[in-house]
Each structure stands twice: as C-alpha cells, then as structure tokens.
Subunit: 336 residues, 2 copies
C-alpha cells in the first residue's frame, strides 16, 4: 500500500495547519462518543488534545491521552507531525464547554446543544460570519490551509447535517462498533424538524442539527483565498456538503485509510457523491510496533484532530513515510 | 517636520500587525481615563475599537467612535492604514471585561483589578506563558511584528509598573489635562506594596499593579523570533521596561509626536533611560482639515490601539505621507 493514495497537486510556500475545536452536548449521551473516558469527560477532549499538541503534554488535568483500551488519541499523531515539521498548529475555538488552556483564535461561539431539545447551534450564522473573518485573516498569513477539527460526538451531528441536506449518507465512529441505531434515532428527529420547518438553507440545517465547528469551518474554508485541505473523516464531509450547498467550491479532503475502510461509514461513496477529492493516508499502524496504534487498524479511533491531514502535510513537505512513522512511534512511546 | 523622525532599519516580507486588547478596572474610576464616553463605558472601548478596525463600523452597540468633544478614536487611524495596506489586524484578547465581537487570539486571561484592593493581575505569569505560546505561533506566520494595544486606564497601570520597577517615570494621558495627582496617589499605594513585599521580579510588579496586556505583550515580544516594533506610548514603555528587566532584548517603539510632545509625560526621557529606540510619526493633523483630528495636536487622545505603529508600517511599505493622510481623512469623514 502506498503512503498516500494520491498526491494533491498544489503549490505553496507558507502552509498553515489549523484545528477547529468545538463541542456538542450529544457527546455526553451515553454510547454516542468514544472520544473520552466517560460520556461527560468527552467534553474535555478538545481542550486536552489541543494542550497536548501545543505543549507536548497534558498537565492541566490528571488525565491520560488514551482511550480506556489504551488506544492513543490521534492528537499524538498530530503532535508528532508538528514536531517533525517544526510547526505550530493554530487552534480555533468555535464553541467549547470548557475553557482552553492554550491560546485559540476564538470565534466566541457556544457549544452545540442536543438537537432533540431545541436548535443545536442557534447562532450558526454568526459563527459562520466569524469564520469568514478568520478566513480573511488567515489568507494574509499563509498560502495553504490544512483545516482539521476536534468535536467529540461530531459524527452524529455530521449524520444529521448530511441527511438534513438530503444525502443518503452514513458516518464513521471512534468506536469499533459504530452505535448506528442510536445515531439514526437522533438523526430521524432532526430530519423531522428540517422537513416540518421546510429548511433548505445549509446554515439553517447546521443550526437545527449540527455543531459550531461546522459553521466555523464553512466560513473559514469558503473565504480563505488559497488552497484548503479539509483534514478529517465524515465530519469534514458534512462541512464539504455545507460549503457545496452554499454554492462554494468544495475543497479536497485528507483522512486515514481507517476511515475509508470503516464499512459502517460508506466514506468513499459519500465523498464521490459530494464531489470531494480525497487523499487517503496509510501509516501502516499494524506494523508500527505499538499495540495501541495497532488498534486503529481494528477500527478504534481511526482519525481525529487533523491527524490524517497532518501526515499528508508532512509528506507534502518532503518527509518520508519512514520518518513520519518513526516520529509517531517515538512520540507515542513518550506518552506511555 | 518629516513624517518619520527616523526610519528603523529592518527587512521583512511578511509583516503582521497585532493589537492586544485588555481592561483594567482602574478605567472605571471617574477621572482616570478619557477612552470612552463614561468611566463605566471605557471598559467597552477595546471591543468597539476592534470591531471598527476589523469590520469598518460599530454595529454591535449604539455608540460613536468619538470622545464627547468629537475627537475620533485612534482606531479610525488604524482602520484607515489596514485598509490602505489591504491587511487584517490580528487581535489578541489578554483579558477583557466584555466579550469581543470579532475573532481574537484569546489567551484566556481576565481583566485587571484595581491595585488598591488586591493584586491587579493575579495570573500575570500564566498570561505571560500564554503570550510566549502566541509569540511562538506568530513566529511561524510572519517576519515582522508590529504590536499595539488597547487598554483604557492603561497609562495609570504603566505608571505603577514603571515606578514599581524603579524608574522615575511619568506617563501620558488621553485627556488634554493629565490627571496626574490621581494617578500618583494610586501609584503611591502600589509602590508601598512593592516595597513591603520586597518585589523585584518584573512579572510580580505587573501582578501587583499592572494590567493583563503587559504580561501578554512581554510574553509575545520576548518570544517572537523576528523583529518586533512596539506600537504605542507610555504603556508600551512599561512593556519595554518589563522585557528589559527580565533580561530580554528591548524592542524599538513607534508612537505619534503627540505623545512625544506631552509635557506631563516626559516620554523621550523615559525612553532614553530604558534604552528604547523610538520612531515618532507626525501625521500633521493640524493641517489635515478635520476639527476632531486637529484636537490630537491640542493633546487630546494623542495615540492608541497601535495608530502610530500602523502609520509607520504604511510608510515602511512604501506609502507616501500624502496617501496616508488622505486615507485617514477619508476614513474619518466616513464616520462623521
């Protein structure tokens, strides 16, 4: 298997790697999200992941950067790549439940609510406009934007938004066993709202059933004046769908082969339907020599916080698959 | 009079103009600050000024960007320069009393307190470290940093910190009549605390009597890897003093001739004592044809939110004094 399924044809001199952080209260519903040791603590994951990427360690709280089964957070992969490249990630706060511990470009949004009890993102349009301002700002500072995200519970909001926009999509999960029935039930209620209120505006679909990251990402990516690569799995497909439905140019996407190979997600089909060009990154974690990373191959975690895009960026900047894998292994070993 | 008193010898290709926003509760003490229509509303000035610079208008609240006497906020000057240069300012939130309405790189600090009732910036060291992280981040995105600030009441905290560090400094004011006696009385109490607690660490002086902007600015400027220009008056001299006392390289500074010519401030003397190289910008507002801007020459406002540094940056980027003055006049006319 090649390291990259295909190499995007882009030229750049000043790449920027940015990660949008957000929450949806859906991640606190038991069973929905594997991105944290307990449902309530999934809300902290964007804060801890960004601390790990920015500082190289989690010191603000006594928590480990692993799933209960010992599978390392994808933030370790992203950290390893920033380290290898001598780069700093720019964090964007789209709406978090807990205050971040490292600097963030803050859009002053709020965490998304449970769409079963009311609009999930009442200020979706304002967050989109803030995203446009951020995209404007970042255009002056860089000529390639690799844009990832961290939103625990975000595959459920992705399902709600993709279906709300009329796509017969499925979505991935950080669990080995995707809680499909539970997601479908939440999605059914969102679709009912979309239908009964006759919503067609993509930002209104985000308002009803999405999360603040989506509004921020759509604003940033549609305003940024140089090439954008969306870094993530089905959550970034939802962002691509929103951008496309708003009449914008749909950016290409980078993710891991573990997302592609999730049979419950149907990722390649949805990407093709949306016209999203995808680069799949295969870091061959099965042979890397770490039992926690090997679990990615069994379908745990799979991707997150821009890990796939960070590996792609390292490759585009001339790092070999061997260097990339070696740095991931040494970084993850440093945490365990 | 030349437009620039001297031209800093720096080479750069990717300049970044950044403004640190913060509050001190001292600005709500009647008589201290002219940066707002009432003492309580001075707390809003950084939010409204940043909105004006980023969006070209103040829409979030029914307030005018002028002093009660019709003197325009220096944010109009900074907006005019960003516009002329096709640049976006990066706002840094060091600690505000009101939430911003445009995106800010947020350091998650708090507004400074009144030093007469307790430590002004209890988390000064944490904000400094957050500033270091921001400086690290901005180093990867630019090769010149022009760093301004907006802190109503900040000349009083500047006096407290300069004196607390042992400099026999005076400071400027946005009022024509500098409320010197009132500032001196606050400063006397801070000096007592510094003496009784035997404080010599510059960040502890900021903690006792400064404001969050100072901690943020010191962290950013001392970590940034390319040239920095501090854009502002006596408040930035306090930042330079903190950096110097911490053993860092003292950056050069840019401000207006209206600060230099404030007899109550003794600006050139303090700058010389601190070893700060200063470029004075003379936009000749007396002859620009606007009665509000002409008041700058009578000593009102004088400087603020990086206006002097923004004009310097425009000149460094090849704009003529005529272009600069014309754009300021057309911008200010658009607001009145």
């Amino acid at each position: 298997m090649p390291f990259l399924s295909e190499v995007p044809e882009i030229r750049f001199e000043r790449p920027l790697f940015s990660l949008i952080l957000g929450n949806t209260m859906l991640s606190t519903v038991p069973g929905i999200s594997g991105a944290g040791p307990t449902p309530e603590k999934t809300l902290l994951t964007p804060v801890l992941d960004s601390e790990l990427i920015a500082t190289g360690a989690i010191r603000s709280r006594p928590m480990k950067p692993n799933t209960p089964t010992g599978c390392p957070t994808p933030a370790v992969i992203t950290r390893a790549m920033m380290d290898l490249l001598g780069m700093e990630a720019l964090f964007v706060n789209a709406g978090l439940a807990h205050p971040p511990v490292v600097p963030c470009l803050d859009l002053y949004g709020e965490p998304g609510g449970d769409p079963r009890v009311g609009d999930a993102v009442p200020r979706a349009r304002e967050i989109f406009i803030q995203g446009q301002r951020a995209g404007q700002l970042l255009s002056g500072l860089s000529d390639l934007l690799v844009l990832g995200e961290c939103v625990p519970g975000g595959t459920t909001t992705a399902l709600c938004v993709l279906r709300g926009l009329g796509y017969p999509a499925k979505v991935s999960s950080s669990f080995v066993r995707n809680p499909v029935a539970q997601k479908e039930e939440i999605c059914r209620q969102v679709q009912e709202t979309v239908r009964s209120r006759r919503i067609t505006d993509p930002l209104q679909v985000v308002q009803v059933g999405g999360d603040p990251m989506m509004a921020a990402a759509a604003g940033i990516a549609s305003t940024y004046r140089s090439p954008v690569i969306l870094a993530g799995g089905t959550q970034m497909l939802a962002v691509a769908a929103v951008i496309g439905r708003m009449g914008g140019k749909v950016p290409p996407l980078a993710t891991t082969v573990y997302v592609r190979d999730d049979p419950s997600a149907g990722f390649p089909e949805t990407a093709a339907r949306l016209g999203v060009q995808v680069t799949y990154v295969d870091p061959d974690f099965g042979a890397i020599g770490h039992h926690g990373l090997a679990r990615y191959c069994e379908g745990e975690v799979k991707e997150g916080i821009g890990a796939g895009g960070a590996m792609l960026l390292a490759a585009l900047l001339g790092k070999s698959p061997e260097e990339i894998r070696a740095r991931i292994l040494s970084t993850v070993t440093g945490f365990t």
